[in-house]
Subunit: 420 residues, 2 copies
């Protein structure tokens, strides 16, 4: 490996001659002295010299003596540096990466993602994503979950019919999976508790700030639950683990973006759908974005919580595999988790008896043919179980306050965008 | 949650009345006494009763008093049990899950995966996979890597042209990504060190025991390397981390499958391609499976290592982004890692200068048009870098000695198989 110290380690080498390596983040040539700011994976480091400097985004190794400097990033800088250029850019970035604010509109940023994401502000959401996923896994590993990997190519467009991408599969029609729902349920029969972090695909025909054609779904499913409340308790642990991990792993990204992390109550407040309707003076069978905002404000006001569970959604609005609420006909053991005014997670208890599946499909006018592979698991004995799915990009957008979900993923895919 | 103890915890509750929950793994009704073996996510537990027992794969809660029993799994059993059936199977599995050996041929197993994978022998490889991936991430996290998620839908079928799945992307042609190669390289410009664990897709038109249409690729890429040897050193750490994790997280799966874990030498032996040719008396520009086996035997014999790096593959056999060996024209800074007679990992140093890419493409008779998104990163300054990709299923197959790679993934996809 190139022998180097990282920008964050300069203080440990005060007075020594060391080499740093990274990109020229900024050069400032004054009359008698020049400042070179180098960006590496940990941050920025400054070198002071009298010579001419290579242009921004040049890749350099800089060898110099570590001296204290109150003005330099981190309080140290390299003096008397030798600069070796490892690679020179052939063009300048379409906007300056060193400016504190991103000086380009989103389409420009997205078109130039490979270089734009080097901007600390544009890179930071991806650091939060990575830290969040690590926390999700840690929390579920602690609870005895097993990680699984399931097919992204499926034979029938079952789960929601519309909005699937078709594939030519060796001359046969096939589809990109919209979720690992059926597979994670089947794997409850094998491991009891499973999770998957992976891509899911939605042929979303609308151009919105909330939807992507591919996103990363954090899925979990567990057996031997009493009902959906056990699933909600696990989800609470997962979310708390994600936040704890972000705090520990990505403090500088949090600082840079000015993210205020939410507190997760020991028990996240929950209200029944009928109560949510009453609070928002509605009699629609689903919640609108405006109602979700109102309910979040209510939870903040009444419970001091930025999270709110809404339970008991009408069966008519939930997928066929949803378990009904035995005590309230027409309502389900399904829930949503609202976070800062928006639905973040959908989950619930599922049916677990084969006959119930056959009946549920029949009541929606569907046969079992397209579902044979799925229904197999239930023929052979499945425990009461449930689970949830959390969209990683939506989570990061809520945390950072991003106006557009495309700001939370490196290379978004949407109705119009297929590159880079 | 259903209040229960796990099978593995019985010893801690000797003399107490506890509830276990799981599947009826086996029932044996003798004249005056019946044995009920319950399977949960940790293993097996036995209950002894005089009553009739529900059929295999019934989901049950069994409440009984924990008593020592030398014959029972784990040395304890439940006596005076009450048995509650949570769900009954509607059909019997197509082969007995309780028999020590799997009594069905592979196609039957795969057709019935949701129930077949409950067999401890068929489930164990998936436990090893999960543990391996956790170890891969741990090792790279320690080395300062950041996890990324990249597009699985791409606009051009670039990397190898053939064997791509076509998609209808909102009326436009698109393709399933064969690897995250281009994206992970671009992200070296952002995070220096990145990894991704995700699905990759190959429209493999041959029906072999070694190929899947979807598999899980463990990809890593890192910047500021001197050459490919720095990449090999990181790969060594990743593999050692995977094995350490398997040992720690999945000891019972290892036992059950009789897996002998390999030792990873501090420095894995490496030979140059020309030397590999000499040892196997060949002058072909690539290594055949038979040669790979011979070389593995040689490494075992000469170095006591089940791992062997082969470096310096001819440029003509490596992808266009491969960095040449500056000292040996015609040879590359690309390597393979052989493990137990088979190529497990391919990797190497990549080109990092824009002009080198343009030249490399031109020398293969290709223009840059299809690669514009990819080449962007190199226009803006990229450090010397390299990386590798390890196929998870192939790894697990090598560890377990599985004859067919389909035994190492829950729901394989191949030329013929699109369900379950």
């Amino acid at each position: 490996m190139i022998s180097r110290v990282l920008s964050a380690e300069l203080a440990e080498h005060a007075g020594q001659r060391v080499t740093i390596a990274g990109w020229v983040h900024r050069r400032r040539q004054l009359k008698s002295v020049s400042f070179l700011v180098v960006r590496d994976r940990c941050g920025l480091a400054q070198a002071v010299t009298a010579r001419d400097l290579p242009p921004e985004e040049s890749v350099v190794e800089v060898t110099g003596t570590v001296a204290t400097s109150p003005q330099a990033p981190g309080g140290y800088e390299l003096v008397a540096p030798e600069i070796e250029v490892l690679a020179e850019p052939s063009v300048a970035p379409s906007f300056d990466l060193y400016r504190p604010v991103v000086g380009a509109a989103l389409p420009t940023v997205l078109d130039h993602a490979p270089v734009a994401l080097r901007h600390p502000l544009l890179r930071a959401p991806l650091e939060l994503s990575a830290a969040s996923v690590a926390g999700f896994r840690e929390a579920l590993d602690r609870l005895g979950f097993t990680e699984i990997h399931t097919p992204k190519i499926v034979g029938s467009a079952t789960e929601s019919g519309a909005n699937v991408f078709g594939i030519d599969y060796f001359g046969r029609p096939a589809y990109l999976a919209q979720s690992p729902q059926f597979y994670k349920q089947a794997m409850v029969g094998v491991f009891e508790r499973v999770y998957e972090v992976g891509p899911v695909f939605r042929a979303e025909p609308h151009d919105t700030v909330r939807h992507l054609a591919q996103y990363t779904s954090l899925d979990a499913e567990l057996g031997f639950v009493r009902d959906h409340r056990d699933v909600m308790a696990v989800l609470r642990e997962a979310v708390a683990g994600m936040l704890e991990s972000v705090r520990r792993r990505a403090p500088s990204a949090l600082d840079l973006l000015g993210v205020r992390l939410p507190r997760v109550p020991e028990e996240i407040p929950a209200i029944h759908f009928t109560e949510a309707q009453r609070l928002t003076s509605s009699d629609e069978p689903d919640l609108s974005p405006a109602q979700e905002r109102l309910l979040s404000e209510w939870a903040e006001r009444e419970h001091g919580s930025e999270f709110l569970f809404v339970t008991g959604y009408p069966m008519s609005k939930r997928p066929f595999y949803t378990h009904p609420d035995p005590a309230r006909p027409g309502h389900s053991n399904g829930f949503d988790l609202l976070f800062r005014g928006l639905e973040l997670v959908t989950g619930g208890q599922r049916l677990h008896r084969y006959d119930d599946y056959v009946r549920a499909l029949a009541s929606r006018g569907e046969g079992t043919e397209a579902y044979e592979g799925y229904l197999q698991a239930f023929r052979y004995g499945m425990p009461p179980h449930g689970g949830f799915a959390l969209g990683l990009e939506r989570w990061t957008a809520r945390l950072t306050g991003a106006a557009n979900i495309r700001q939370t993923t490196a290379f978004p895919r949407d109705l119009h965008r297929l590159s880079p």
